[in-house]
């Protein structure tokens, strides 16, 4: 019989549903079924992986994640296990390495990620991967964020013994409208094949050939044209899949990435905006398992060109006479003019159309402006489409939920405003961040009939052209703020670049106008930043209670139950 203490670490761990694993000499506890790779990475023992992706099935094909593994020795018949002073059995190390992605942890398992066996195994794998690799890093877009490059630096041998001719494969193949394929750079991890099959459900990619001639391919006549195709560029660990949009635009090490959210639909996909010198170069999805997993639709990803487009409004503009062209002005003069003109308007004849693309802070300020003016005709423009049953929500406004919480508006008052503009009962219109000739359905000829049209927007639209005063606001990339997505999650927008030209954040413009109109409420005029406005919102609206800029975090926080779910996330949760 054993003379060991009554409770062994294995029993303690088993009671929690966990197992004890020794990683590089230290003991840790992990839930049963944890993959060795995940376990090691979670305690800082980095395991390099090409093919393993937590959201895809395990392929185990790249062999990069080899680690040295050991288990307690198998007992002879009738023998009882022996335990050391620390309560663990001795570990018998296996002479061969195992892959960390396809194997799960077990009780009393030992893992070494830094041993000689492991580093030899990694070096060998890299040497094989590089035998037919073209080594065209100087002209490869992935350079700087290439796993093959990183791992070769970390674990490779620096020289190679392969002197034979390399096998040539296809290069620069337009495999889809937005993605290019380079078969030579490929390490055949099959992440793209698995992504298209398992997440998108369109099996358009496959591996053809055999041995060193293996290559990723499409079937001729079919192409990688899914609206989620560019995610394969993100998950490709090397430069085999490149984005046609981003190719040769900028070296990635020059880019700064800012975590923020997408504003093209109500999902509020978490993204990183990559910028250099006030220019946006690309957008990539940022992992958030409650919102967008690791993915984003191409249509949203590529909708950033307007940020640095020539159509951007860079100065305030005023129309001095009816029929005269808009001419640039200064902020001070423009705001004074706006206040003077607004004072002349009868509140009953004024309507305000706000956009549900504005942040909560801007909506709060818009509400303050409406109250200051005494305007009651006041609504958002609903914008709906069809959900793609993946990540694109049927609600194409990013902040409808926030607008409902803060303004109590749902778009039903818009009809009244539209009618009022048509029949002349509304003489003045204030439009904040919308092109009302589009979804709001107010034609240009009706706008021309108005006495006064004040528009705040970031780009030139038919509405700004018809305006008497145009105030240049900013796009989502140039401001801080929060939005609430369709599922009721409040998320942060972070400023990636400075406002273009003389444009100013919308909340700032609205606060200035409200203040100049005579508002003396400190809860409006004393707000120096969206973070402080958020505190005011949190104090005033119950769902926002306890919310502040810091505790929202990069993942956001659910503040209200809308009953709406995101189909892709639901499927992912059902899989677990």
């Amino acid at each position: 019989m054993s003379t060991q203490p009554v409770t062994l670490p294995k029993d303690e761990a088993a009671a929690e549903g966990k197992v004890n694993v020794q990683i590089n000499g230290k003991w840790y506890r992990f839930p049963k079924g944890t993959r060795i790779a995940d376990a090691c990475n979670s305690v800082g023992a980095h395991v390099p992986c090409f093919c393993y992706h937590p959201k895809l099935s395990v392929a185990g094909s790249c062999r990069m994640c080899l680690v040295e593994q050991g288990m307690p020795p198998r007992l002879a018949p009738g023998a009882t296990p022996t335990y050391g002073a620390d309560g663990y059995q001795p570990i018998q190390w296996m002479p061969r390495a195992v892959i960390a992605c396809a194997n799960t942890v077990a009780e009393n398992m030992g893992i070494r990620t830094t041993s000689k066996l492991t580093s030899e195994a990694r070096r060998g794998v890299l040497e094989f991967l590089l035998t037919n690799h073209p080594l065209d890093c100087p002209i490869c877009d992935q350079a700087g964020e290439c796993k093959l490059q990183e791992y070769t630096t970390d674990y490779g041998s620096g020289t190679h013994r392969f002197t034979e001719a390399k096998i040539k494969k296809g290069k620069n193949i337009p495999i889809g409208p937005r993605v290019n394929l380079d078969q030579e750079r490929c390490v055949l991890c099959r992440r793209c094949v698995r992504f298209m099959k398992e997440i998108v459900g369109e099996e358009v990619l496959g591996v053809v050939g055999r041995g060193a001639h293996n290559a990723i391919s499409c079937y001729p006549g079919k192409e990688l044209d899914s609206n989620y195709s560019m995610n394969v560029v993100d998950i490709c660990p090397v430069g085999a899949m490149t984005s046609k949009d981003f190719r040769f635009q900028m070296r990635v090490w020059f880019l700064k990435s800012t975590p923020t959210i997408d504003v093209n639909c109500g999902t509020g996909t978490n993204i990183n905006i990559w910028t250099r010198e006030q220019k946006v170069y690309r957008i990539t999805p940022r992992q958030n398992d409650e919102v967008n997993s690791c993915w984003m639709p191409d249509s949203h990803r590529l909708n950033y060109k307007y940020i640095n487009a020539p159509e951007r409004l860079t100065t305030p503009m005023i129309k001095t006479d009816a029929g005269a062209p808009l001419r640039p002005s200064t902020w001070d003069a423009t705001l004074n003019l706006v206040v003077e003109q607004l004072h002349k308007c009868a509140p009953a004849e004024v309507a305000i159309i706000v956009s549900a693309r504005l942040t909560n802070e801007e909506l709060y300020m818009a509400r303050a402006l409406a109250r200051q003016l005494g305007v009651t005709k006041f609504d958002i423009v609903p914008r709906t489409g069809e959900s793609d049953n993946m990540l694109i929500s049927a609600d194409r406004n990013p902040n409808t939920t926030g607008a409902k919480l803060i303004l109590g508006k749902t778009g039903t008052g818009l009809n009244t405003i539209r009618r009022g503009v048509k029949n002349g009962s509304i003489r003045s219109l204030i439009v904040l961040g919308e092109d009302v000739t589009a979804e709001a359905g107010i034609p240009e000829q009706d706008l021309a009939e108005l006495d006064y049209l004040l528009v705040m927007d970031h780009s030139e639209t038919p509405t700004t052209k018809a305006a008497d005063v145009v105030l240049p606001g900013v796009t989502f990339a140039e401001k801080y703020g929060t939005m609430v997505n369709v599922a009721g999650r409040i998320q942060r927008l972070n400023k990636a670049i400075e406002p273009v030209g003389d444009s100013r954040p919308d909340w700032d413009i609205l606060r200035d106008i409200t203040q100049r109109l005579g508002c003396d409420c400190p809860r409006v005029i004393a707000c120096p930043s969206p973070m402080i406005i958020l505190e005011e919102i949190a104090a005033e609206f119950a769902p926002f209670e306890g919310i502040n800029w810091g505790n929202i975090g990069n993942e956001g926080k659910v503040i209200t139950d809308t009953g709406v779910t995101i189909p892709l996330i639901e499927r992912e949760k059902a899989k677990k």
Binding site: K168, K169, G170, K171, N172, I173, P174, I175, Q183, E203, V204, L205, G206, V207, V208, G209, R210, H213, A215, S217, C218, Y219, P220, K222
Partner: protein, 192 residues
């Protein structure tokens, strides 16, 4: 493979072979569909894809090779995708993407046969049937004579290592093959 988009187009490019005149052209007939459906039926529901290989074998037997036009049809029969079928076809060297001749030599080049003289047999057969051994490459390991009567393909082990060198003519195995024996085989089949 070149550095043009043709790397993908090449996947279904027809490789003309003089041997085609000895085989019927691939055509989807009700009989063929019934035969394929019977193969698919051998697998449980949801596992139809497992029938890809049996169907490929069936087509190769009937038509000599897997022609590009048959790939989408196979995929459709097995509820699979053309790219998946193409992946399987290009993976196995035993599945031909080019039509062999009427009589198809498979010469073993695995070590036992190679040492016992198999290596020299390949160029000898090539010269006898009038093909250039240099046209036998990794990508297309088969050469067909101009009249379509003969073709040669180096293969791996034929499981008869004790009696090397071995070769197969169509489905018939010949062991301890010599140049003389090859002459005899060719003479025997030339007029058949």
């Amino acid at each position: 493979m070149s550095d043009t988009p043709n790397a993908i187009e090449a996947l279904t490019a027809h490789k003309p072979s003089p041997g085609e005149k000895f085989f019927p052209k691939f055509e989807v007939t009700p009989e063929l569909v019934a035969e394929a459906a019977a193969l698919v039926d051998q697998y449980p529901e949801g596992k139809e894809q497992s029938a890809v290989l049996p169907i490929i074998h069936m087509i190769q037997e009937k038509f000599g090779y897997i022609c590009p036009e048959s790939l989408p049809w196979i995929a459709e029969m097995c509820k699979s995708t053309p790219i998946h079928v193409a992946g399987i076809v290009t993976f196995y060297p035993g599945i031909h993407t080019m039509c062999p001749g009427k009589y198809h030599f498979r010469v073993c080049r695995t070590i036992a046969c190679s040492l016992s003289g198999g290596e020299e047999l390949i160029p000898y057969i090539c010269s006898k049937i009038g093909v250039d051994p240099a046209t036998i490459t990794d990508e297309e390991p088969m050469a067909v004579s101009a009249d379509g009567m003969w073709s040669i393909e180096p293969v791996e082990c034929l499981a008869n290592c004790g009696f090397g060198p071995n070769l197969m003519l169509n489905e018939k195995l010949y062991s301890q093959v010599t140049r003389k024996k090859i002459d005899e085989i060719i003479a025997e089949y030339k007029n058949k």
